[in-house]
């Protein structure tokens, strides 16, 4: 049996939720105050995921870096592997907002996308 206390981060109430189970099997789940919290705790127990946000190097723009993120949350266990891949890449302007920069990041099936566009106009982000 594995027991875990999970602090729900869906809303500021921050409920402490106790989950116990084995492998992919949840035996009990207590302490949540709403269905969203229950779902969060289940996922967090079985396969915790996070949106990775970082930067990539960009050539041809005024600033050397561009903020990027994974299009969807990726397994927490893959964060460092993804960082190693992203760190080695370089991109060139122009880049559109939400343009895919790296497809299927580290075999997660999830893409790395640009948070802002990069062009020349200072009014552009």
């Amino acid at each position: 049996m594995r027991e875990q206390e999970i602090i729900c981060t869906i809303c500021p109430a921050g409920c402490h939720i106790q989950v116990s189970g084995q492998g992919q099997d949840i035996k009990s789940i207590e302490g949540y105050s709403c269905p969203r919290g229950k779902e969060y705790a289940e996922n967090e127990f079985l396969c915790p995921v996070r949106t990775l946000t970082t930067t990539v190097k960009v050539d041809g723009a005024e600033e050397p870096l561009l903020a990027v993120r994974t299009a969807k949350p990726i397994p927490k266990s893959k964060l460092f592997e993804c960082m190693d891949i992203i760190r080695k890449e370089r991109f060139r302007v122009p880049i559109e907002q939400y343009q895919v920069l790296i497809k299927d990041l580290a075999g997660t099936g999830i893409d790395l996308i640009a948070c802002s566009e990069r062009k020349g106009d200072p009014y552009d982000i």
């Binding site: 981060t9 500021p12 109430a13 903020a67 460092f80 960082m83 948070c115 200072p122 009014y123 982000i125």
Partner: protein, 448 residues
């Protein structure tokens, strides 16, 4: 050098989320010429370096990163025809509303405006503000400065890090430095509770097994040229370090995340009344300062933990500024103070403006029981006036009460309170009809 002069209806200082939202709202309210003056080379304010997600959950019902959140407002500002003067540092606001700023290309620029919105944000407290003893080596950064270096300028600041302060910026930087390959030895917090949001503790510290040391502080910094380590110790109930518990942590970098200070040099110089509790200008329910033509919003008023709150209150400031220019409203009238009662650190707005009975445009009760503008009523921009406040200490289930002249005018019970998370209570403007020489007090009482 030739002087440049421009005329605008509304001029906003600062292009962070506060300034952007205020300028957009001023245009939508009908102001034709609206400008934002910003000292940075790009709009977006602090959000340009806040590349993490966690913005927009309440405003857009969608979780966005800082640049995405700011980007939405930048796009709207452009669509609404808001003018933007970048790379321009505002130096002074003169008595007639003329703003003096300096721009590397244009030289000195004068912007004359019918109403001014202050949206300068805040700056970080430094080692100087804390008076940490020890040597003065390289490697001591404020967390936000390190964030800018790493996220915008591509400069890594260190390899082995101790972070002082458990505010959101500190925790977010703990994760950021870890992902970039540094080792964060500890986050040290003098209080016995977390300063920032719980979700940041979970996702920034717990996820990476970074120890959080509550009730501890940094007592000394050592190192000749570069930081070689810091000494930390437990603190007693008066927050004084107990030197018998002192221990050494080897590190090359110390990040300070020990609070923000609203950036109010311009405000003070303009002779605007300040609040000692927030270090920002005192404002009324229209975000109007003690100078009728100057409004303020965002972190310059009080330090906000959520950009979403900033956007909402900044729209109000922008609308009010436009109304001031177009309709001469809000006028400054008699004011009821809003004060912090037991368990509360400060309340914002600090005062509510009441229109007097004798007002020429006073309209009587319309028969439906609701009074409209004037007649001694408080006329909020909306029907409800939202009072923002912070509690002094964390607590479990707590009742938040607003009192006026011995009466409860609003009450709300929340499941837990934390000084790091701003609370609010809404009061109905009509309830205060006829309220005289009184004040509104907000109180927090733990109920179990």
């Amino acid at each position: 050098m030739q002087e440049k002069r421009y005329d605008f209806e509304v001029a906003v200082i600062g292009a962070g989320p506060a300034g952007l939202a205020a300028a957009i709202a001023a245009r939508r309210q009908g102001a034709k010429k609206v400008i934002i003056i910003e000292r940075d080379t790009a709009p977006g304010g602090i959000l340009q370096q806040c590349i993490h997600a966690g913005f927009g959950l309440s405003y857009f019902q969608k979780e966005l990163t800082g640049p995405e959140y700011a980007g939405r407002f930048i796009k709207q500002a452009k669509e609404e025809g808001v003018e933007l003067l970048l790379d321009s540092m505002v130096l002074n606001i003169e008595e007639d509303g003329t703003i003096l700023c300096s721009n590397p290309g244009k030289g000195l620029v004068y912007v004359r405006a019918g109403a001014v919105v202050l949206a300068m944000g805040c700056r970080e407290r430094t080692r100087f503000n804390l008076r940490i003893p020890g040597t003065r080596p390289a490697g001591v950064y404020t967390a936000g400065a390190a964030q800018r270096l790493i996220n915008r300028q591509n400069e890594m600041v260190g390899k082995k890090v101790v972070i002082l302060g458990s505010g959101d910026i500190g925790m977010i930087m703990a994760r950021r430095m870890t992902l970039e390959g540094a080792k964060v030895e500890a986050v040290v917090e003098i209080m016995d509770y977390l300063a920032g949001l719980t979700r940041n503790k979970v996702q920034c510290l717990d996820d990476f097994d970074i120890p959080l040391l509550l009730g501890h502080t940094v007592t000394r910094i050592t190192g000749e040229y570069r930081v070689e380590g810091v000494w930390i110790a437990q603190v007693d109930e008066h927050r004084r370090p107990d030197l018998s518990t002192e221990r050494f942590i080897a590190c090359d970098t110390l990040l300070l995340s020990v609070g923000l200070l609203p950036e109010n040099e311009l405000t003070r110089a303009a002779g605007i009344r300040m609040s000692a509790a927030t270090n920002g200008p005192m404002i009324n329910q229209y975000m109007q300062t003690s100078r009728a033509d100057i409004f303020a919003c965002g972190n310059v008023v009080h330090v906000n933990d959520l950009a979403d709150n900033v956007s909402a209150e900044s729209e109000l400031a922008g609308r009010s500024a436009a109304r001031y220019v177009l309709e001469g409203f809000p006028k400054r009238n008699r004011e009821i103070p809003c004060t912090a009662g037991s368990g509360i650190r400060y309340v914002c707005p600090q005062m509510l403006s009441v229109r007097e009975e004798e007002d020429a445009d006073c309209k009587e009760d319309q028969g439906d029981g609701r009074k409209i503008e004037g007649c001694g009523t408080i006329t909020g921009d909306r029907e409800e006036i939202r009072l923002y406040f912070r509690v002094k200490a964390p607590g479990a289930k707590t009742t938040l009460t607003a009192w006026c002249g011995g009466r409860v005018i609003a009450e709300r019970t929340v499941r837990r309170v934390n000084p790091g998370e701003m609370e609010h209570i809404d009061i109905h403007a009509e309830i205060l009809t006829g309220a005289e020489d009184t004040e509104i007090t907000v109180e927090a009482r733990e109920v179990g």
